[in-house]
């Protein structure tokens, strides 16, 4: 699954650690999602969407 997490994070000038802290996950988790090594669960995807105030489909896209 592709995602725009890195771009959205960069637009807000957040580091991976900043984003991890806001999502209450580890920096490793953010890194794994950004690099496509891990697809988040639906609850975590919703948390990400709420944080960026965007619909899920504007952040994550099916291959």
């Amino acid at each position: 699954m592709n995602n725009r997490l890195k771009v959205l994070r960069a637009e807000r000038n957040w580091s991976q650690a900043d984003l991890a802290s806001k999502l209450e996950v580890s920096r490793q988790s953010v890194n794994a999602i950004e690099t496509g090594k891990y697809d988040p669960s639906l609850p975590l995807a919703f948390r990400i969407a709420r944080l960026f105030d965007l619909p899920i489909e504007q952040i994550f896209a099916d291959n």
Binding site: S29, I33, K37
Partner: protein, 143 residues
């Protein structure tokens, strides 16, 4: 699980896991030393021998329980996935290795491995798998 389980930024679940593993592992070492000493000194038989053998086995069971509690309490789903992957890697590796060793023994009349080899090897492979995954998960830039 993060690389440094004693660091400031670890989750309460990791802290409890680290304390639990240290406690149960220490208990296991003490139980093995204590029961081995007792068995060699007093040569117990029957029910007593069964009870003594159960003490270190209980520590192993408790150690696995600590892992189960960690998986229940860890809120970070990716960290849970890493631990489950490491557990599966260790379990598969031990099953494959022990099957291989059994066949080798059966066909080649080789002596059996020392007792508790599987247990020690399981935790070593589990730790190694966690370390490798942790290094891989830490890769990537933070721009």
């Amino acid at each position: 699980m993060t690389c440094n389980p004693f660091g400031k930024n670890v989750s309460p679940a990791v802290r409890r896991y680290t304390q639990g593993i240290l406690f149960t592992m220490s208990g296991y070492v003490l139980a093995v030393l204590g029961t081995t000493f007792y068995v060699h000194a007093h040569h117990p038989t029957g029910l007593m021998l069964y009870a003594l053998s159960a003490i270190p086995a209980f520590c192993i069971f408790a150690m696995l329980g600590v892992v189960v509690i960690y998986l229940r309490d860890e809120k970070d789903e990716f960290q849970r996935v890493l631990v489950v992957r490491a557990l599966l890697t260790a379990a598969f590796a031990i099953l494959a290795l022990s099957a291989y060793m059994d066949f080798l023994r059966s066909y080649g009349n080789l002596p059996a491995l020392p007792p508790f080899t599987d247990f020690v090897a399981f935790w070593m492979i589990f730790g190694l798998a966690q370390l490798i995954q942790s290094i891989r998960a830490n890769g990537g830039t933070d721009e």
